[in-house]
C-alpha cells in the first residue's frame, strides 16, 4: 500500500516527529511504499543539519536523513513554513538574501502542492502533530 505522512511538529519538543519516524520505519519494514513525508508548520525544524543533541539521546534529524538515504524517501519541507522559521537551502538563501543555509541531507524544500499531491496519490495520508 502507498502511504504519505504529514509531520506538523519539530524535533524534541513534542513526540510527533518520533512517532512519525517509528511509523514510517515500520511501514517500510512491512513492505509498504512511503511516497512522501511532508513537513509543515514547526515540522520543518526537523530538517536543519545544525542540531547537536546529547550523545545519549536520539538524533532526530540524522535518523530521518539516514532513513531517506536507505529507502530513497522523499522528505519535503514546506517552503512557506521554512521562511517563517529559518530553514534555508541554497536557492532560498540566494532568493531571500541570507548568508547561510542549514538544510540537512535528504530533505528538500518545496510548496504545499506537494502535500495535496501526496493526498491524491497515496492510498492513505497520516498526520502527526501536537
Amino acid at each position: 500500500m502507498k502511504f504519505a505522512v504529514l509531520v506538523n511538529e519539530g524535533p524534541y519538543q513534542h513526540q510527533a516527529s518520533d512517532t512519525a519516524y517509528q511509523f514510517v520505519h515500520a511501514a517500510l519494514q512491512a513492505g509498504h511504499d512511503v511516497m512522501r513525508v511532508f513537513f509543515y508548520h514547526d515540522g520543518v525544524n526537523n530538517g536543519t543539519r545544525l542540531t547537536s543533541p546529547p550523545q545519549d539521546d536520539r538524533h532526530i534529524q540524522k535518523r530521518w536523513s539516514d532513513l531517506a538515504a536507505e529507502h530513497k524517501l522523499d522528505l519535503v519541507l514546506c517552503v512557506a513554513a521554512c521562511q517563517r522559521r529559518g530553514i534555508v537551502d541554497e536557492d532560498e538563501m540566494k532568493r531571500n538574501g541570507k548568508d547561510a543555509d542549514n538544510i540537512a541531507e535528504g530533505f528538500r524544500i518545496s510548496g504545499l502542492g506537494q502535500l495535496i499531491e501526496a493526498g491524491i496519490e497515496a492510498d492513505r495520508l497520516i498526520t502527526f502533530g501536537d
Partner: protein
C-alpha cells in the same frame, strides 16, 4: 467506510479524546498514542467513558507508549487491544482513512 481516529493527548490535559468520541460511531476505531495512551489503563477517571465507547467502536493503544510511561504490567481496560508500530501500520491499511485529532 471505516475511519481510524488517532488521539495523542491526555484527556486530563486536553479535551481531544471527548471531542473525538462524540463524533465517532459504528465501525470506527480509536487508537490511543503518546500522552493519550495512559487512559487505556484501568482505574482512571476516563474508564467508564471508554468502556461505553467500546460498545460501538474498537479501541487500540500503542504499547511502546504505555511502556515508556511505566504501564507495561498494568491492568488495561478490557476492550482495549495493544498494538506495536507494525500493528499501527496494519490498522492504517485496514481502515479507509485516518483522522488525527490534533
Amino acid at each position: 467506510m471505516s475511519t481510524l481516529n488517532i488521539v495523542n493527548k491526555s484527556p486530563f490535559e486536553k479535551r481531544t479524546l471527548e471531542q473525538c468520541l462524540k463524533r465517532v460511531g459504528d465501525g470506527d476505531s480509536v487508537l490511543l498514542i503518546e500522552d493519550a495512551s495512559i487512559c487505556a489503563v484501568a482505574g482512571t477517571a476516563y474508564q467508564d467513558q471508554l468502556n461505553a465507547t467500546a460498545e460501538l467502536t474498537k479501541l487500540y493503544v500503542l504499547q511502546p507508549d504505555l511502556d515508556a510511561r511505566g504501564f507495561t504490567d498494568a491492568k488495561l481496560l478490557e476492550p482495549v487491544q495493544c498494538v506495536d508500530y507494525t500493528g499501527f501500520v496494519e490498522l492504517v491499511a485496514q481502515h479507509d482513512r485516518v483522522h488525527s485529532w490534533l
